[in-house]
């Protein structure tokens, strides 16, 4: 993997002098890394376990399952001072009745061992079917305006999430960059006052606008539609602000040259400003996409139909009927998490730069 943070100015601090200090740093990194990784590994591990192996109260990291022979589930026990393995053929008041399989000289013999002395024989086993089960657990009667009928719910959630996140991202980057260009470069009456208004609303928390926007959309009969998910996300003061700050750093000479060549405002915006702003645009894109993809509260408020749910609220809905089926819940969680992680690994360089652009200049 290439260094994702190579956009940052090179670190000039001296390297730690002693080997001891280095080892200490490694130890600390590994300790924190363990705490960070353990829950995620546990999620994947649970999602791959046989249902019988989930609620056992053991920290079994590698999914295992009891071996089943053609006579029945296999146990190991001590019998006549020998370690034996046998298939359970019945449970009697005296214990488990086993048909011995090993060692060979005892094979076929039927013995009874006390239940608490028979240990199940387990083998590594990944239950991939959990993913299929989670994926197929819920059906949506009609989605995409009737285009999809009786489809797997998670497929529908995926499609919805993609539609919403892509539209919101595209819309916000487009409107923000246009407005940012006007604020950064064009001269018109009221510009600075207007920009101050934008800045002031950066302070306003989302909780304030939530209720009025909901009422507005319900008056327009747009709740429980894609519009309710997409429209409010398409405009942001934040994106405008961030891009304006970036556009201001672009040298004016290039635009002047284009203007002398007879380029229109739109031409300058499209052919000069946008190509030069790729890092900022990429940062905003990654930022908005992840935010929209992970958004929970707003979709929860405006969406009722199963066929319109996005992945986060779809997962919340999935939790209802499968409250204690942890292997399915974890499989579904992995299904929801994976694409975001892929987007992050691809875009993390831009993402981090965007964070720094927005964070330190704000």
């Amino acid at each position: 993997m290439s260094a994702p943070y190579d956009t940052l100015p090179a670190r000039r601090r001296k390297r730690p002098r002693g080997l001891g200090l280095k080892l200490l740093a490694y130890a600390a990194l590994c300790a924190i890394g363990f705490v960070m990784a353990a829950p995620l590994v546990w999620m994947i591990s649970t999602s791959l376990k046989d249902p019988t192996q989930v609620v056992v109260g053991r920290d079994q990291w590698l999914p295992r399952r009891q071996v089943v022979s053609r006579y029945g589930p296999v146990y190991s026990a001590r019998f006549d001072d020998v370690e034996v393995r046998g298939a359970e053929i019945a449970i009697t008041p005296q214990g488990r009745r086993l048909r011995l399989l090993e060692p060979a000289r005892l094979a076929g013999r039927i013995v009874t061992v006390p239940a608490n002395q028979a240990r199940p024989v387990e083998r590594l086993h990944f239950e991939w079917r959990n993913y299929v089960a989670a994926w197929k657990a819920m059906k949506v009667e009609s989605a995409l305006g009737g285009l999809l009928r009786n489809a797997d719910a998670f497929l529908v959630f995926y499609i919805n999430s993609i539609i919403v996140a892509v539209s919101v991202t595209f819309g916000q980057v487009a409107t923000s960059s246009l407005a940012a260009y006007a604020f950064a470069r064009l001269r018109f009456p009221g510009r600075d006052k207007l920009f101050l208004g934008y800045l002031a609303t950066l302070m306003v928390p989302g909780v304030i606008t939530m209720i009025p926007v909901y009422i507005l959309l319900s008056r327009l009969r747009l709740t429980d539609t894609y519009w309710a998910l997409i429209l409010p996300g398409m405009f942001s003061a934040y994106g405008t602000f961030m891009l304006r700050q970036f556009f201001l750093t672009i040298p004016r000479d290039l635009e002047d040259a284009a203007r002398i060549d007879g380029a229109s405002l739109l031409g300058i915006y499209w052919n000069v400003i946008l190509p030069l702003s790729k890092p900022a645009l990429a940062a905003l894109t990654t930022f908005v996409f992840l935010h929209s993809w992970n958004d929970f509260m707003w979709p929860l408020i405006v969406i009722d139909s199963l066929g319109l749910k996005t992945l986060p609220i779809g997962l919340a809905h999935f939790q209802g009927p499968y409250l204690t089926e942890w292997h399915l819940l974890m499989a579904a969680s992995v299904i929801v998490m994976v694409p975001v992680l892929i987007v992050f690994v691809i875009g993390q360089r831009y993402f981090v730069r965007g964070l720094i652009l927005s964070g330190l200049k704000a």
């Binding site: 993997m1 001296k14 600390a28 409107t175 604020f183 009221g190 209720i211 009025p212 579904a332």
Partner: protein, 315 residues
């Protein structure tokens, strides 16, 4: 404002407004959306807070009644009782969850200091630390619900290993539900955005300062205390401010997914209370009033934080 010297609007020649049509055209799409989904809603929220509105009937102006119901007290026998005791309880819950902020900030700083070392494999750790912040919060909350599960969860399984015979019922007891929330949010926050901001801050510190400190015979603690920490104070200020702002609005996903706000309201935060009022009980006016009070709190704390920072932040 940056750039206003060279392109300010003060010196604009008087021209017919049509000359500026092109400029305004760039602004229109964004401005309309800004108007409809930010500016007007903010105004509407304040207006709404003076009404009683159950969506179906037209809104009714009730003056300050919502705020009276929310914030005032009445006499109950010999003592004062809050008109809405739930609000105060949930406000306390919200503030309690914010006690995790200092730990989260400290943790982020430690992570950033470690990740700033020139060590082999540090990129791997950077990515790993950042994953919790990037993954779907709903999925992560669900994962932690499973980890906190009383009988079979990973955490209690470990605690039993370490000899604690009766580990707490994390999400089902009023004592432990909030600490559980804090643990989860620490896990999500420590290596996330704040850590990246600290990393950027660290990399902006000129190396000469450390060289000068070395010449003065400073050890690593002196350098941390007298060089790194003061120079990072703008970053710390920014992080603390943002954490407080989001802390006041926090806890929604966790409460919704893990506890439903329980047990006995122990994990209901103001955000969940607003959601319940507005979208489950359809008390739009009252919900708007709570939102306005929350906004006031956020604004007040940001201001206070800013005032305090004048003394401790080194620019």
């Amino acid at each position: 404002m940056t750039g206003s010297e060279q392109s300010g609007t003060a010196a604009l020649p008087r021209r017919p407004w049509r000359r500026y049509l092109g400029s305004y055209a760039f602004l229109v799409p964004n401005f309309l959306g800004f108007l409809a989904f930010t500016l007007l809603p903010v105004a509407a929220a304040f207006a709404l807070s003076f009404t009683e509105w159950a969506i179906l009937n037209p809104p009714r102006l009730v003056g300050l009644h919502n705020f009276d119901r929310l914030l005032s007290f009445h006499r109950e026998g010999s003592r004062l009782a809050a008109n809405d005791p739930y609000f105060w309880k949930y406000l306390w819950n919200t503030v309690f969850l914010m006690f995790g902020i200092p730990l989260a900030v400290l943790g982020s700083l430690v992570c950033a200091l470690l990740l700033n070392q020139r060590l082999r494999g540090v990129v791997f750790f950077r990515t790993l630390f950042f994953l919790p912040a990037i993954g779907s919060a709903v999925a992560i909350t669900l994962l932690w619900k499973w980890i906190f599960q009383e009988d079979y969860g990973l955490l209690n399984t470990w605690l039993r290993h370490f000899g604690i015979a009766h580990p707490p019922g994390w999400l089902v007891t009023t004592t432990w539900a909030k600490p559980a929330f804090i643990i989860m949010s620490l896990w999500m926050a420590v290596g996330g955005y704040n850590c990246v901001l600290y990393l950027a801050g660290l990399q902006n510190i000129p190396g000469e300062l450390y060289e000068a400190a070395d010449m003065d015979g400073a050890n690593w603690w002196h350098k941390l205390r007298y060089v790194t920490w003061p120079l990072l104070s703008p970053t710390t200020f920014f992080i603390v401010t943002m954490s407080i702002i989001s802390g006041f609005q926090g806890g929604f996903i966790a409460a919704y997914m893990m506890t439903g706000g329980g047990p006995a309201g122990a994990t209901t935060t103001i955000m969940l209370y607003i959601y319940q009022n507005a979208f489950q009980w359809f008390q739009m006016g009252y919900a708007a009033a709570i939102a306005c009070v929350l906004f006031g709190l956020i604004f007040g704390f940001t201001l206070l934080n800013w005032r305090l920072s004048q003394r401790v932040v080194y620019y």
